[in-house]
Symmetry: C2
Subunit: 484 residues, 2 copies
């Protein structure tokens, strides 16, 4: 009955059911993700995905690539969901539901924005209602199979994400309860994502393909395609096939009673979340050391004492690409110490292979301690003169107990969006997202902030990106030189 | 090393490596599948899939829908792979590698035909080489996780099929070894298909989506998208995530030494293969009973003694649709007794819900016996006058020990293709497929048999289908009346 219970809840859900904090969490989740999808387009994965598909398989252009943010960069909704899904996750900078390590917004938002722009006339409250339905669906489902499903190697963001996207698009399209059940079934039978692909382009492919798979599930169901009315709970359905543990009925019983979206957190650093406490510790060590007149180049060894999960997920000792660096706590500590920050600029191929960074990385020793929580870390650096600088992060920034402030969230958005849009348009985009609940046609949001460059070609913007990359890199490497 | 071993084998594979039986098996597999993809388009699933996607998401038309078989029915390669994949499997009439119950041709052929027609200039020997590479890949992989992977509920045709399609398309595109490894990784992380969806449109969706997923994997890898060089064997890669048992290195060591395609069999009946012995037994009981002057309407009870797997996979007692009837041994026995045959015409919604068929189905009792092999069955019918007619099927038709003859395979192809193409064009299609190894451009094969109707619209053909359906139904129901 779980599939029916989920579909029934979603179909009956109304915007009026939401408390103000739920709506606020939805709005924040959406603009945080949109910033990541705009900024993330500067990685290679999204543009490869677009260029390998759209020229050959792109239908009538209806839906925007957020990171291109101009009308000429539209493709069809199927490809837009795919590419924006990739772009929003490729920097590993999006959001996290800590109890499941699911990054919940990407699959659902990528599908919804693509469909809303294609269909037109979707108002903000309906959009947010569909979004929350999808997010709650994937998170309750994720909780129901946690941790066994994750421990065996599935990437639960995307394995649950196709189902979340199907629920959300079904809601947006106004499908009835049994048709929503059929859509859930079609999405459930597409299990996308394994942890082996972390640190490669395929990690973000998971989100794009799951977004697309869920969207296709809803469209097929709307057209009468059959699957199953019990795709989740059946003996050979989702929960039993992908997990040795499941608790789906009990979790779905809490739908609308406890809102998982209130547990969503936003990443301060664009990398695996379990290495965040170590990065913050390294940044604080740098600050303290510089305050004492010490030079980072005089460090002789670094020790990080962390929760064991840190090495399971981010234990790469010798990353060779920016993406691999996102799964290397060693790299995270090194850039925290060298740059005093960890933004997308610190996770480029050039920085990951920079000899100064590599040299410092090799001095980092990591020990695991099961008494250290996942949002906690102890970092100490030993300097040539014998000074030992130690910092303890009790609750890392971005965790539930220490969330990013509104200003920090805006700064995160602006830092990504302004690189592509420029400051004025990025500010306009931020304001548009804050007001998304009141929009009469959410599909037009991209046009709202596309500004004067709306007629620019994607090719021209592509060139702009490269110029920006060079500038960013020069600044970053200049900083390294200054610090040493 | 398994992923590398597979990629290395595939990249080095040459047409000259094949023995004549391997080539013959490949050719038979291809035309048997093509017949199913032409005939299967008369089910609703493929046309829903086409109509829900192509008008909105279809790119430049390059690739044909086989069941429409005219140039105006072209769409892009991504959608063609999807829709032809569905059409080739929707009748459950395609082919079977008995050791894994994988239907190997669909995913690989659907992807390859779509790409070959799109790219153009792919000759027959290269096409067959790519096809065999893909089929061997998926079957060796399937063997390596059998039976645990299947027993937990995965539909192994599609879970391995995305990988087979990726290997095949990589081979067709001439990708090198590491790029083929990357393609395998992208395909491996898309695990499509669970057994809960058997008996619905989504069973054949599995094949279409897996074909498309593998194809996209190869295209992304060709464009530099990264995944992993050990996507199959890594701790959190395919074999360990989807199965509690794996033997992939040992299986891949046999690549090119034992050819799995030689173990491929072709279905005589369009339904779950485990119910085939019961159907053949029922057909033989009918023949024997009519020979004795008995009337099928005088049957008072039917007993089928079968291998236990028969009820696991085809145990539906009260099917309500044609697709559900394909997973009901009760329905199979009933139509075998009533019609003396089991063709696609016996698995329509109308026949499944026909009161005479339902009445006879309710008289069928099935007992399982683990000493009865999967290709074996005992069927007996008790008549009003006390006569008991019993037949024992030792090796069912279509099994390795009793394969379909060349004439039977041709008749199967013609029975499906002629419904759409008419006899003359179907014959031309058959001849074209027999000669596929010598073609200079395999992508043109659809044009070779599209004939005078090439300029017809798909709308007109759609109407033809409905007329044909009515005629077939009238003939079928007339037969029932005659027999009773």
């Amino acid at each position: 009955m779980a599939t029916q219970e989920l579909a029934t809840w979603s179909v009956n859900l109304q915007y009026a059911n939401f408390t103000a904090p739920v709506i606020a969490a939805a709005v924040t989740s959406l603009y945080n993700w949109a910033g990541c999808a705009i900024g993330g387009y500067q990685q290679t994965a999204p543009s490869i995905a677009l260029n390998a598909t759209s020229p050959h398989f792109g239908g009538p252009p209806t839906s925007s690539i957020l990171g291109l943010a101009n009308n000429s960069a539209q493709t069809d909704a199927q490809i837009a969901a795919f590419v924006n899904g990739i772009a929003g996750h490729v920097d590993d900078y999006d959001d996290t539901h800590l109890a499941t390590i699911i990054h919940p917004t990407g699959t659902v938002a990528a599908a919804l924005f693509a469909v809303a722009e294609w269909k037109g006339g979707i108002n903000g409250s309906d959009f947010i209602t569909a979004f929350v339905a999808g997010v709650e669906a994937e998170l309750k489902l994720g909780l129901s199979v946690w941790p066994q499903h994750y421990d065996v190697g599935w990437h639960d963001t995307s394995t649950t994400g196709s189902i979340g996207a199907a629920v959300a698009v079904s809601k947006l399209l106004g499908l009835d309860i049994p048709t929503t059940q059929q859509a859930i079934g079609i999405a459930a039978t597409q299990v996308i994502g394994m942890q082996e692909f972390f640190g490669s382009d395929t990690k973000s492919f998971h989100i794009g393909r799951a977004a697309q798979g869920g969207m296709i599930g809803a469209l097929l169901a709307q057209n009468g395609f059959t699957s199953s009315l019990q795709g989740l709970e059946a003996q050979f359905g989702w929960v039993h096939v992908v997990s040795t543990r499941e608790n789906v009925t009990a979790e779905f019983d809490t739908l609308g009673k406890s809102w998982e979206i209130l547990q969503n957190t936003f990443k301060p650093y664009p990398c695996g979340i379990v290495m965040h406490p170590s990065i913050e510790g390294a940044i604080e060590v740098q600050s303290a050391a510089l305050g004492k007149g010490l030079s980072i180049s005089d460090i002789t060894s670094v020790n990080a004492r962390v929760n064991p999960e840190t090495l399971v997920l981010t234990g790469q000792t010798d990353p060779e690409t920016g993406l691999e660096g996102k799964f290397s706590v060693y790299h995270g500590v090194a850039v925290g110490l060298l740059f005093g920050e960890a933004t997308p600029s610190q996770f480029t191929d050039a920085v990951v292979t920079n000899s100064t960074v590599v040299g410092l990385r090799k001095l980092v020793n990591v020990t695991t301690d099961s008494t250290v929580r996942e949002d906690e870390a102890y970092i100490s650096a030993l300097f040539k003169d014998g000074t030992n600088v130690t910092q303890h992060i009790d609750h890392v920034i971005g965790s539930l107990d220490n969330p990013l402030s509104t200003d920090q969230l805006k700064a995160k958005f602006m830092g990504q969006a302004s690189l592509v849009l420029g400051d004025a348009r990025a500010e306009k985009a931020y304001e548009a997202f804050l007001d998304i609940g009141n929009m009469s046609d959410v599909g037009t949001i991209v046009q709202l902030f596309s500004g004067a460059n709306a007629s620019g070609t994607s090719g021209a913007l592509g060139l702009d990106f490269k110029v920006i990359d060079v500038v960013v890199m020069a600044v970053v490497l200049g900083l390294v030189a200054l610090l040493l």
